[in-house]
Symmetry: C2
Subunit: 409 residues, 2 copies
């Protein structure tokens, strides 16, 4: 029997004893191990999540948000570690595209994560110490299996929509593949149906940077009272460049110098782009765990929806009842439009209900996290149409403080 616990919402005054105290939690006990794709069962499992809005009477208005590689459950309220607004605060809230006056939004921290959900830095019941590399290598399928436990525990038979970008988009596709009857609508954004060789290569660079850091200690840094912050910062810097486009970098920084008028003829951060990148690396290590980074990137590398179907994607979606909206961005070279088109072609081949939109943007892969008006309009519009098909009523426009309590849009 699983149990959900509701903890007090974040007050914003930073006085809570743990940064994760304000997350809700699903606890799957040791007696109910969850099978993993690697063959090892996992127990216990904790899934930390946040909800926004109210579940309606027939439980038909639930939207599941799947976060990306370094995202977390704080999709629409202040991050407990960084103090920054939710990573999709402009997307979720009353009157926003994902309207919390109308929908019940659930965002769990993914399995393998480091914000309260079970992952490599959780305590291994067999040893009483963090799993570290004894944590089993998980897949996108495992992440989704754990999310299904949460959705079941919340008493929801069918999600109104599953939405996510990048690694989140992989989870959306996996949901539609594994639980078609539980997914009324699906919005995979800036993603792929299998991780490409180039993207595996970029991930491998990041992992090697972490694993080469002497403070990593074969994953047991916790035992040594250190953290492989240098390696993790390098991994983040390398990845961050791939999230942007050359156009965006050129517009934002060009060859502008940082706090100086002339080149220093040294190895300091002469250029603004260097200073920006170093900052990205340094701040990332405050909120993310190195082992989690290894496991999450590995899950993405392993993702290949056509595995087990002879490399063909079409059989995966045969007979799917789900309505899809596939979104890509013109300047995203990490998950380019061509990848999304392949998903669209596979869905078309099985006569699925699919919309496809390529958003004009020069902001690279990062665009899915940004306030891009056309992108927001597309999501708003698709969800409106989906709600009509599902027979959901219009947004509750009356005052209802409760439904707004959790979100901080």
């Amino acid at each position: 029997m699983t149990a959900t616990e509701s903890r007090p919402p974040l007050t914003g005054d930073g006085t809570t004893s743990s940064p994760l105290d304000h997350s809700q939690r699903l606890v799957v006990p040791v007696a109910e191990p969850m099978p993993l794709d690697c063959g090892t069962p996992l127990a216990p499992i904790v899934i930390a999540y946040r909800t926004y809005g109210k579940l309606n009477a027939d439980r038909s208005n639930a939207i599941l948000i799947c976060h990306a590689l370094t995202g977390d459950q704080f999709v629409a309220d202040r991050h407990p570690v960084t103090g920054k607004p939710g990573w999709w605060g402009h997307m979720i809230g009353p009157g926003r595209p994902i309207d919390t006056d109308r929908y019940f939004v659930i965002c769990p921290n993914a399995l393998g994560g480091c914000m309260g959900t079970t992952g490599p830095n959780s305590i291994d019941p067999a040893t009483g110490a963090p799993y570290a590399l004894d944590f089993p290598v998980i897949t996108i399928g495992d992440m989704v299996r754990a999310q299904k436990l949460l959705v079941d525990a919340l008493g929801i038979d069918q999600l109104f929509c599953v939405i996510g970008g990048s690694m989140g988009g992989m989870q959306v596709l996996q949901w539609a593949a594994d639980y078609p009857d539980s997914v009324f609508g699906a919005i995979p954004i800036a993603t792929s149906w299998r991780h490409t060789a180039q993207n595996i290569a970029f991930h491998e660079v990041g992992r090697q940077a972490i694993m080469s850091d002497p403070d990593w200690h074969e994953g047991n840094y916790d035992r040594f009272g250190v953290r492989p912050t240098r390696g993790l910062a390098i991994a983040r810097m390398a990845a961050h460049v791939t999230y942007l486009s050359e156009t965006a970098l050129h517009r934002k920084f060009g060859r502008s110098l940082q706090d100086r008028k002339m080149l220093s003829f040294g190895f300091g951060a002469d250029f603004q782009v260097e200073s920006y990148l170093r900052h990205q690396g340094i701040t990332f290590v405050d909120r993310f765990d190195a082992n989690s980074y290894l496991y999450m990137t590995r899950a993405m590398d392993y993702f290949d929806l056509a595995l087990g179907h002879g490399g063909r994607l079409t059989p995966v979606f045969l007979g799917t009842p789900t309505r899809f909206c596939i979104v890509s961005f013109t300047s995203d070279w990490l998950f380019p439009t061509s990848e999304s088109r392949q998903i669209v072609h596979a869905l078309n081949a099985v006569a699925a209900n699919v919309s496809f939109v390529e958003i004009e943007s020069d902001k690279g892969h990062d665009a899915f996290l940004l306030d891009e008006p056309e992108f927001l309009r597309v999501l708003h519009g698709f969800l409106d149409g989906l709600a009509e098909h599902r027979g959901l009523g219009p947004a509750d426009t009356g005052p209802d403080p409760d439904s707004r309590a959790a979100g901080q849009p």
Copy 2:
């Protein structure tokens, strides 16, 4: 007074006492310091180089090859450390596009390098120990200034052609800008007139990887009897991904597994692309110096031909007598065709003699190092036309063992 020394050519049996013993060397003595762009004069300077073919009587058939970031002078014969054929062995030799029966080919190791030319691992006469970070930060302009000393010492007033790709292409452009009367023809390949923000960012990731390695010791690893091999390998891996195209990676590796039929659910090199990348990192550290990598990448970052001209490229080439052939590759996203076009536009604006060829290739930036038939034809053809304009005779087709002694095509 500078002095050139000729050492015995490589016998190929690996019995020479030093891997660099078979390089020719120019020695610029302490009494003749060379000014650097940073303001510090540098002395002494050694320039290690290789030549192929024979200089003709009027010294009009010399081609200077400028190597890329991690290249060296062993452009057309066996590398003394790796034992591999020259990096442009298919390009240079009798009957090849850069025909050693016709041209006298000079390839120096760039200033700041680690294959015999003065760089950060050379001995600082002030201390008797390697310069390490006391070596002045050099520029592409400094590299070219040092090459000019070599060309002068060889008694060559005008180079028939200067050729190079990537960082080598930057040097070609700098030659044409600084010594227009000394450059009859110029072939800048897969390059740019100023390093972009994205490329600075990628370099910064590599530098941070090296400088984060505890074995780097602020550059003084030599003193500690260690080398920052882990950081340098990460830098190489990160850079190597950028040299390839997603298409090439997909064709070469796709998601194929390395020596196994199933995923290992671990962090070993499951995928061939991971194994390949690790190999690239590991082998690189055997032949390259970490501090050199810092200095060479910095020189590229600093490269901006329009600096000092209000950001405008046109004045740089005003009145240029040089004939240019600009070459780019369709799938090169590190130095894309758009960068080359900007050079062409600037040259056109001053009515320079310029050809521009974009080669169809899916091999990414690496294409300039590969045996791409159309690329070889373009170079061959341009050089033929250039030779006609210069009044050079046809290739010497008679037997002349001497002219073939140095090269190993």
